[in-house]
Every structure is written in structure tokens, then in C-alpha cells.
């Protein structure tokens, strides 16, 4: 099953890898996924929670270069909901309007530069034609995760931006990836979602404008 939160680069490279697996299953080297280490887990001593948590309405969208990606939104939303509930910052997280009118918007934007896409296509074809044995490719998916919290009708919003990244390595490529390897792309995206959500919500709650 194709993962719809994969970037165009990752999807193209996966297609090439699948083609090579079909031709020579033993020769093709599987893609490896790494969650970037820069953000990391939120440290317990840094965690902040409001004294009186309130319910919140979630509006979530997964995007690709700022455009909606409905399939990825559907797949990632349950992970976002789980991550939000685990923060303890809200009494309840639902998609319908809540008493008090608080709204939390999260835009999970997969940012892809055209030059990176062109390079990945070139490297991907080269690595694919060599069955992954004579070359390789490293593709990085960058994510800008925008959080916006509206405390209620007429109230000013509180905002923060968290950046994260996911690296994919395919074939023989002797480079050190600045990330933690995870078993597959779903686990990788789940980890990115959890870490970004933890940091994003913590930033919002730490803002003096966030209702305590």
C-alpha cells in the first residue's frame, strides 16, 4: 500500500525500488528511514501544562508545499489526535466546535524544493538502474508544522512553527545520516508527528497569551 504522506521524491524513488525488486529481488537494497535528530523528544523538565486545561476543536491538514493532501491528512490525523491527547494540555480534543470556542489548527506541511526534486529523480534513476548496488540516493523530507491556537471567539491567536525532517536512504551510499533509524516509513512519520506535536503544543502552552 502506498503511503500518501510520502513526498513526491520518496514516492518516485519507491516506485523505482519496487521496479527493481520486481526484476531482481535479491539485488535491490531496501529503503531505510531515519528521523532527523535535531528536534528530538521533548525533555520532561521542559514540559509545561496549563493549570486548568480546556477542551479544544482540532482542525488538521497535511500539506505538500502548502497544498492540501487529503489522503495523507486522513492517515496522519489519528496520530495527531493521539499525540495531542498525550500532551495533557487539553481536557478533550474533538473535530466539532467546543464550549468556549477554542480552536487548534495544525498544518503539517511537507516542503519540497524543485531543485531537490530534480536531483532526487536523477539520483533515483541512476541508483535504480544499478539495482541499488552501484550507487544510492538520500532524500530528505522537510516539514514545517504550523500551530495556531484560538482561545475563543474574538480572541487573538497564539502561534508557533516547528520544523522537522525525515531522511530516506536507498542503495549504496556511504553517508552518515543525522537521524535515528526506524523500521519503516509509517513508524518514521509517526515519530515525526509525535515529536513535532509535543514541541508545538509545549511552545503554545509556554506562551503567556495561552490561557492557563
Amino acid at each position: 500500500m502506498r503511503n500518501h504522506f510520502m513526498s513526491i521524491r520518496a514516492a518516485t524513488l519507491s516506485l523505482l525500488a519496487a521496479f527493481m525488486l520486481l526484476c531482481v529481488p535479491t539485488a535491490a537494497q531496501a529503503a531505510k528511514w531515519f528521523v532527523d535528530n535535531s528536534l528530538g523528544d521533548l525533555k520532561p523538565e521542559e514540559k509545561k501544562t496549563p493549570a486548568t486545561p480546556r477542551p479544544v476543536q482540532l482542525i488538521f491538514e497535511f500539506q505538500r508545499n502548502g497544498e492540501p493532501n487529503p489522503r495523507a491528512t486522513k492517515e496522519v490525523k489519528p496520530w495527531i489526535l493521539d499525540a495531542l491527547k498525550a500532551t495533557g494540555a487539553f481536557t478533550e480534543v474533538v473535530e466539532a466546535p467546543v464550549a468556549g470556542g477554542a480552536v487548534l489548527s495544525i498544518k503539517f506541511n511537507n516542503v519540497i524544493a524543485q531543485e531537490e526534486l530534480d536531483k532526487a529523480k536523477k539520483d533515483g534513476f541512476r541508483a535504480g538502474l544499478g539495482f541499488g548496488l552501484f550507487g544510492g540516493v538520500v532524500a530528505t523530507d522537510r516539514y514545517d508544522v504550523a500551530f495556531e491556537y484560538l482561545p475563543g471567539e474574538g480572541a487573538a491567536s497564539v502561534q508557533t512553527l516547528v520544523q522537522h525532517a525525515l531522511h530516506m536512504k536507498y542503495g549504496k551510499k556511504d553517508v552518515e545520516i543525522p537521524g535515528t533509524q526506524v523500521k519503516n516509513v509509517s513508524e518514521a512519520v509517526k515519530m515525526v508527528v509525535r515529536q513535532a506535536t509535543d514541541h508545538g503544543i509545549n511552545n503554545l502552552v509556554s506562551d503567556p497569551a495561552f490561557p492557563q
Partner: protein, 183 residues
């Protein structure tokens, strides 16, 4: 080896031909803030229909033989209605019993490999009488790609993304909002 390669080519060929349906997009914080700021009252949604007549909108979007269809059992006009329902519902402004309703006639639905557009005549109906109507249109352009596996889903995504943009354009129009608020 030739057979294996042929199988690969067939597999890629099959993968390139996609038949999918337009997908529900999330409501946006921008439209919600707009509805709140303008104090848009709760509204009902009336019929959303295709233009029909001599200029009917296409029932599907076709890119390189791949198709994108409306949700099962409905048309693109109904999909636009769903978009209005999602945005109004998220803002707590949707009420089937409200005296004022929004209706629409979808007049344009086009998509190519680098451009897509939709247009509609949107009306405000109060107590059964049309009080306001106006044409709205949104268009998107992007850079195409020679690889079908990239070009086709990108065109579909761009077309899909037009619907929430049209909804936002309508609620950004002071004349439309005024018509909704005028008793």
C-alpha cells in the same frame, strides 16, 4: 530476463493509469477566522446543481487517461456543497433550519496538466426568495512534470484544492456576507 523486464514495464504502465475520486479537504482556520470576524450568521444549504443546459460541466476530470470522479452517487456541484458544509460546520455556522440559505450552480470545472479552474454562481436565498447572486471563480497554475506518476496526482491534488479556495473566496466577498446578514 526480457520477460521480467516486460512484467516490470506492464507493472509501471498499470501504476500510471489511475482512477480516483475527489477527496474531502479539511476545513481551514483561515475560513473559520473569516466567518468569526465577519460574524456570519448560521445558514442553511440549499441545492447545489450542475450548470446543465448547453454548457454542462464535465462529470469527471481526465489527465493522461487517468480520471478523477466526484464522490460516489453525486457530482462536483454536490462536492462543492460538502465543502461549504465542512467550513460552516467547523465554525458552528451551519443550521438546516436557518431562514437564510446558500445555493449554487456549478458553471465551470476544468483541469489540465498545469492549470485547473472551477466557477460557480452562488446565491443567497431568504425565506424562499433569492436576495443575491454572483459568479465566483478560482484558478490554479503549477509546473507540470513529464513523469506521469508525478504529473497525474499533482494535477488531481491541484484540482481538489480549488474547492476550499472557492468557499473562502465567497466568504471573503463583503457583498455576499452583507447579503447573508441582511434581514
Amino acid at each position: 530476463m526480457r520477460a521480467v523486464l516486460a512484467m516490470g514495464v506492464i507493472a509501471l504502465g498499470l501504476a500510471a493509469c489511475v482512477h480516483t475520486r475527489v477527496e474531502e479537504t479539511a476545513p481551514s482556520i483561515e475560513t473559520l477566522k473569516l466567518l468569526r470576524a465577519e460574524k456570519v450568521p448560521a445558514v442553511a444549504l440549499g441545492p447545489f446543481v450542475d450548470a446543465g443546459g448547453t454548457a454542462p460541466v464535465a462529470g469527471t476530470v481526465v489527465i493522461r487517461g487517468s480520471t478523477m470522479s466526484p464522490p460516489k452517487g453525486s457530482g462536483f456541484a454536490e462536492f462543492l456543497r460538502m465543502g461549504f458544509a465542512r467550513e460552516l460546520g467547523a465554525a458552528g455556522r451551519l443550521d438546516a433550519a436557518a431562514p437564510v440559505a446558500i445555493t449554487a450552480r456549478l458553471t465551470e470545472s476544468r483541469a489540465g496538466e498545469t492549470r485547473a479552474s472551477i466557477g460557480a454562481r452562488i446565491a443567497v436565498v431568504r425565506d424562499g426568495a433569492e436576495r443575491f447572486s454572483k459568479d465566483y471563480r478560482v484558478e490554479k497554475r503549477w509546473k507540470g512534470d513529464f513523469i506521469g506518476a508525478i504529473a497525474i496526482p499533482e494535477a488531481f491534488r491541484q484540482y481538489n484544492a480549488l474547492y476550499p479556495l472557492l468557499v473562502r473566496q465567497v466568504f471573503s466577498d463583503p457583498d455576499f456576507v452583507k447579503a447573508l446578514k441582511t434581514p
